[in-house]
Every structure is written in C-alpha cells, then in structure tokens.
Amino acid sequence: MATRKPSGSASRTTSRAATSAASEARPSGVRDAVIVGGNRIPFSRAGKKYSDASNQEMFTAALEGLVARFGLQGERLGEVVGGAVLKHSRDFNLVRESVLGSSLSSQTPAFDLQQACATGLEAAINVSNKIRLGQIDSGVAGGTDTVSDAPIAVSEGLRRVLLEASHAKTVQARLKALAKLRPSDLKPLSPGTDEPRTGLSMGEHQAITTARWGITREAQDELALASHQHLAAAWESGFFDDLVTPFRGLTRDDNLRPDTSLEKLASLKPVFGKNLDEPASMTAGNSTPLTDGASAVLLATAEWAAARDLPVLARFVDAETAGVDFVHGHEGLLMAPAHAVPRLLARNGLTLDDIDFFEIHEAFASTVLTTLAAWEDADYCTGELGLPGALGSVDRSKVNVNGSSLAAGHPFAATGGRIVATAAKLVAAKAAETGKPARALISICAAGGLGATAIVESV
C-alpha cells in the first residue's frame, strides 16, 4: 500500500464541483478507484459457439484479453473478483483457478462472489471499495456464465442415498442404504431459474410487473429494436475494438440482429404472462435470451495506472444495492434498482438530470420501461420510495445508447462487466468531446428481488 494517499488529494478536486457536497460527505481516508478498461468475449446464445466451453475457460479468456490489452503479463494485481450464477460445485475457486490459468502473476489473489445477475457489478463495487479503502491498488472485477455447460444435479433422493452409503461403515449398512434407491431418484435435476419462494419464473414475475405498470407490447418492441440497432451501430463504429476479444472463432455477439424490425418483433408470440387478465406482451424478442459469455474490468488507483502508462477512462464513484419484497406481491421482482437509484443519487447530491448515460440492464424490455415509469410516478415515488415527489423523467435518448442485454445477450454474471466497461468508455468519450465531466448511471436488476446500481464519472 505504498501509494496510499490522504483524503482530498489534488487530483480529485478540480472536475467535480457539482459533487463537492458528496465529496465532503465521504469518509476520510477514501481515495479514488478508476476504471482503466475492460474486456469481454463476444456473448453467444446458449448451445451455439460456446456450447462446450466451461465458465473457467471463458473467464480465463476474458482475463487473457484484458492482460494482453494492458500488458499485465506477470503482474501481481491486488485482487481478482468475479463469479458465476450457474456454477458447478467443482468450480468452488472458479476465479482463482482462472487467474492461475492466465498470464497474470499467480501471486494474484482472487475470490468468487455471487449476487445473481448483479454478480459482475457487485464484483466491481467490491474491487473499487478495496481500492478506495487503500487495501489494494489494482484489481479485476468480472463474471462468467454458461447456460450451455450448466451443472446438472442428481435428485434429492439419490443424493441422500449416496451420502448415507458413503457414511456407512459396513458393507451391510452400505447395501441397506443403496436399497432405498427408487427409479424416480435417477432423474437428473436441471438448474432452475425459477424463484424458490414463489415458484414463478423471472419472466412470469416480470409479466405481473409489466401488467401493473401498463407497459404496452409496442413500447417493449420499440425498446428491443433500439437495443439491436444501437448495439449494431456500436459494433460498426469500432466501439468494441478495445472492449471485446474474440473467442472460439466468434467475433461479435451472435444474438445481435442488425436487420430486425418492428414488424418482425411484432410477429412473435407472447411467452410470458399468458395467464394474466391483461393481454400478454412479453415475447422472445423483447426478453433476453439465455446466453454464454464472460467479462472483466480493470480497476485501479490513478497512480497505479499512471505508473504503468495505462489510460484511465472513468472514476467508479459510488454504488447502492437494494432488495424488495416480491414474495408477497408487494413489489415487482425486478424493481429493486428503482429503489436503489434514488438513494444513490441523493447520497451523491445528484438528480436524474445530472446523468449523461443510463445503462439499465435489459433483463426484459419491460424491466427498463417499468423502472422509468416508476420514477415518473409521484404516487409510487412518495408511497413506495419515500420521496417528496416523482424522481423524474429520463431522456430516452440517454438510455442504453450502445445497446444492452436484449441485443448483446445476458450471460448473468458477465453482464455487469460489460456494462461497467461500456459506461466508462462512454463517459470518457463524452468528456473528451465536450470538455465537461460526464456521468453514467448503471442499474442491474437481479433474481431474489435484488438490484445493484452504480455511478461512474469521467476523470
């Protein structure tokens, strides 16, 4: 920790007049964590290009691309933090094993964490917090997920029989244990994404929220179309040239449909909410498909980056997570970011108008739309969020300007890293263009009624 700096260092004071109140509120001894850059592999629809790639292979590939981009071979980083939502039990040290298989120094420590779809962002929050507290000078945050190579578990009956047999001390006892096996126990269990407490899938939960907020099919399809068009334009413009490294011959996200249209999207049959009173509106086109992929983001202190002649895109300012009571139907499953964002903005002395880019994870098109609608609703904001009135409207031209999960796909734990790197690059470019600081707000909803949000700002 040789570069630990006192609070209020000169580098922090100039460009942030707007947030000076927030800066003063920060605990003493905290320093800045900056985003150097990111890397991911192209995301691939489940069962396609990465069908036999493991989480470890994909995360290692994401790390290797990051190492190559920034010349980190043999470097001992402070920490590598990441995770996977669908994880084999053998992958208990998934991130550390990936580090050991990478070109980083094997003295780089690592750990796994998991917060459903917010895993990647939570990893970035974690790494940035360690940096800000002076515990580490550099770190990588990321995540990986494969639906194609998901673990398949044995049934509860078979598991109990096998455990009992392995604990048995005599052959007789072992045979007795095995005799309890029933044919039905041999059926394997696929990993489910249904909510354990409600038995409803995420899509069915969101269908309820969609209906409650009266989000139309047309609005959802328009948002899906924009996601594909924006992502396609970003690829064409070379935006991802220094954010993505190809993997297994895949050079672009293969869920991307640059030629999709409102007509094509409108022709799809609804798949969620078919049992509700309201007309079902959520289709495969305006819902995110199951996807494989991995991402990684390099965070550090500005000094660490400067000492290695590395660029700095943005500062990881602050983060807020939230949980909501969806179990009793009080709130929508994926509405937690709607709760987290007002708290995050308030703590940093900001309003929605201070944000240049909104990166709202598109679990479903309607997730974005219900969140935006909620912030515009005075009753909801006062009653549910405890605000004096509506939080405000978001200029839609600032939302997911380079596309998001509907087009790119959503390998659960990898989405956070994708968004953080994209947001950091966006604010850096905007600040370079305008000469003024630029901010991005990141919002990711997650299973279990969770949500993680963060602010990144140009430096």
């Binding site: 290797e64 691309g65 190492v67 190559a68 981009r69 010349g71 993505v244 490294t245």
Partner: protein, 451 residues
C-alpha cells in the same frame, strides 16, 4: 506445417534408404538458440592480396567474438565458416588464389557451415576491370551457394559508398550471415552502407530498450516476428484486425507485449499506432508491416473487391501508416524509425493467379526504396524482406503435390519456418543495421525463381 519428407530423410531407416537411393536430402537447419556457439566450427578468413588489410581487420573482430579464426586452408579442420574478402580486388585475375582456397576446403565445410563474401559493388565510373571483378563476385556467390550441401549457406556483404569492411553495419551483417539466425537466407548479396551505429552491448539482446510494432501479429509469420523481436529485447505492440483478437492476445501475452486490435486500413491507423506506442511504451523505434492478405485469381476472373482489398491491405495501408509515422501529413514524425515491410518472391518473380498480390508486393519494394532516403536522413531505415516458401497455415492449404514441388525448388530443398523470416526482420530492425537501407532481403533458401 511439418515437412514430413525432410523428417523422413533425416531419421531412422528412411534416412538410410534415402542415402542409398540418392534421394535429395534436405538438412534439418540449425536455428538460433541463445547460448549456442555462433558458428559450428573454426572460421577460415581468406582474401586476395590487395584485400589483406580488410581481412585482417575482420579476422580480429571474429577473434573478439570468441571464434577460432584461421588464415590458412589446412586439412585438419571441420570448417564452421569461410570468409572470403575481395574488397580491394581490382582485376578479375586477382581473385583466383583466394577463390580456389575456398574451394579447397569446401569438402571439409561442416553441415550448417557458412560461406560469406565481402566485396564492393560495381558502380558508375569504375574502371572496366574493377567493375568486372566486383560484379563477378555476384555470379560466383550465387553459384557457390547452389553447390553447398547439408544446410550450409552462402551469402555476401556488398560494401557500398565506401563503407569500411569493419564498419558497424558490416559487422552486424557478417554476424547475421555467420549465425544460425540466417538459416534460410541463402545466395543473397546484401548491400551495406556506412554507418555510425553502435554495436549491441549484448549480441543476444540487440533490440534491448526498443519498442516495436508488428502488424498481422495474431498468427503465422507475424506471431513469429513478435516472438523474435521480444526475444531480442524489444517491447512489442501486437496489431491485428479485431476479428483476429483471440490469436493476437495469445501472441501479446506470450511476448509480454500489448495487443492493439486495429484494422491497418483504417484512415488513422498510423496515428493510433503511434499514440499507443508512445503513451503505453514511451517511444516507437520499429515498425514491421507484416499484415497481408491473399485473394488469388487469374486476372481474367478478378473481381474488383479481390483486387482492391489486396492493394488496400498489402500496400496502401503501409503507405498511409508510414506517412503518418514519418510526419508526411504534417504531424511530428518519428526520427530514426526502422521500417521493415513484408514483400514476397511473388513480387520479384511473379506468380500465376497473383497479379494483385504480385502488384502489391512489388509495390512494397518500390515504396521501400523510395522511403529509404527519407528516413535515412534521420538515422532510420526502410527495408523489405521477401519470403519464399514458408511453412505456415497459408501454405499448408496448398495442394500436396504443388506444395512438395514448391518446397524442393530451392537450394536448401525445403520451405522456411516463420522464425526464419522473423530473424531477418529482427536483424534489419536492429540499430546496428542502420547501414542497410532501402534493401530487399530474400529469405527463400535460394529459391530458383527470381534473383
């Protein structure tokens, strides 16, 4: 990419069989490994009478390199190399003694041995006798190289513009030709001009402290160039198109360099390369234009895209990047830049179905010669390397029979390895090679096509 014929005739029963049948037996070439001796045996230095002074000076240098140097063609040695110095010969009849002395030891030249001539070029204003002997060396060396066997090669240093025989670049070239680094360079005469360059402190790391950019570094020859430059001490910026990023990352991580995903045909490619090198590595010393594509078609069947894409990648991109690096577009140029471009024997001798490729590669030779004086004024160089048949993914897709014929069509009777091209590039990119400028060095095992 394995040459199974060469392996077969050099191992086990098939080796014996090939010997008995008198089949051509291409040698397994000795390639550079740090710590290996420079030559495989003692070095004989011979000269005509007038060139004795230069021969003495070179012999002294070789002694300083720790070599066993002899001046008499005795029978007791298994020669590692023969150095023939003819720099001051002024009449064709002057050289017979020296040349025949070389002949007398050739049967005792060790496998992987070297013959190197040192001479001066025939130039305008030379007396006819002088021009005759000087040009005679050219035909002599090219013929002798074809007589050498067992991986031995013959190459020549041609001292231009009055360069001293022991001037830094002449010595660097001599060392390259004597060493295993030049394994697949054969039958070549390389003009070397005067220079004040310093010889490297460590001959195993001649690029220490240098920053190099290699385009097309994801695989094949480009990856070998990156590895070789890094081995010689350079920090390497590895460039390739974004779609080749997976291999590019592998190369960059193998050499401890950085990966820059960039299409060399982008308008601002040169500017972005320069910015990356300067901000991330502090400087830029070497640019290797290796990125290239093939779109083979008979001209009668050539589509516009097939012609245009080859010209864009292989030629126009190099021109645009050079202009941006050298400040020809108004920006601040990089002084002392060493530029090495990939040409091809197809650009020298031509190849059916490759009018586009041949045009682009001959174009590379053209712009290299034109760029040389521009960069030379500031201590830089612009050179090209023309590979012959190299064992790569690309050539492994050539049909078997065609490939076998192509392999055997050289004095060394085999294809070269990517590293052979890379070694030549690393040599040309080194500070000590500053006197080599505007040249095209063939790495072709003395291919029978072209010069």
């Amino acid at each position: 990419m394995t040459d199974s014929y060469t392996r077969a005739v050099n191992t086990g029963f098939t080796k014996t069989l090939a010997k008995k049948l008198g089949l051509p037996r291409p040698a397994v070439l000795r390639r550079f490994r740090a710590g290996d001796p420079l030559t495989v045996g003692p070095v004989l230095v011979v000269s005509d009478d007038a060139s004795r002074g230069d021969a003495d000076a070179l012999a002294t240098t070789l002694l300083g390199w720790g070599l066993d140097v002899r001046r008499e063609p005795t029978d007791d040695a298994r020669w590692g190399a023969v150095l023939l110095v003819l720099t001051e010969a002024s009449h064709p009849t002057d050289v017979s003694g020296a040349v025949l002395a070389v002949g007398s030891v050739l049967r005792r030249l060790a496998p992987q041995g070297r013959v190197v001539t040192v001479s001066r070029p025939a130039a305008d204003g030379d007396a006819p006798e002088v021009a005759a002997v000087r040009n005679g060396v050219d035909g002599f060396l090219r013929s002798l190289a074809k007589e050498l066997r067992a991986g031995a090669t013959g190459n020549g240093i041609v001292l231009t513009d009055g360069a001293a025989a022991d001037s830094p670049s002449a010595l660097a070239t001599l060392r390259f030709f004597l060493s295993a680094r030049s394994a697949y360079v054969d039958g070549q005469l390389l003009p070397v001009g005067p220079s004040t360059a310093e010889l490297p402190a460590d001959w195993d790391r001649p690029l220490a402290g240098r920053v190099a950019v290699v385009t097309g570094a994801a695989r094949g020859i480009g990856a070998a160039i990156a590895r070789t430059l890094a081995r010689d001490g350079a920090q390497v910026v590895c460039v390739d198109v974004p779609a080749a990023g997976e291999g590019l990352a592998r190369t960059a991580n193998a050499v401890g360099g950085t990966a820059l995903q960039l299409d060399v045909t982008a308008e601002d490619a040169g500017t972005r390369i320069l910015e990356h090198a300067r901000t991330r590595h502090g400087r830029l010393d070497i640019v290797v234009h290796n990125a290239g594509i093939l779109r083979d078609k008979l001209l009668a069947n050539m589509k516009p895209a097939q012609w245009d894409s080859v010209i864009a990648v292989n030629l126009a991109a190099q021109l645009r990047i050079n202009a941006q690096l050298l400040g020809a577009d108004g920006g601040a140029g990089v002084p002392g830049l060493h530029i090495v471009s990939l040409a091809s024997t197809s650009g020298i001798a031509g190849n059916k179905g490759q009018t586009n490729y041949g045009f682009s590669k001959a174009g590379v030779i053209g712009h290299t010669r034109a760029t040389a004086p521009l960069v030379g004024a500031q201590g830089g160089t612009a050179n090209a390397v023309a590979p012959g048949f190299i064992e790569t993914d690309m050539t492994s897709s050539i049909p078997f029979a065609t490939r076998e014929v192509a392999r055997r069509l050289s004095s060394l009777q085999q294809g070269g390895q990517p590293v052979d091209v890379a070694e030549a590039i690393a040599f040309l990119a080194s500070p000590a090679a500053a006197g080599v400028n505007g040249q095209v060095l063939r790495v072709c095992g003395q291919n029978l096509v072209g010069r």
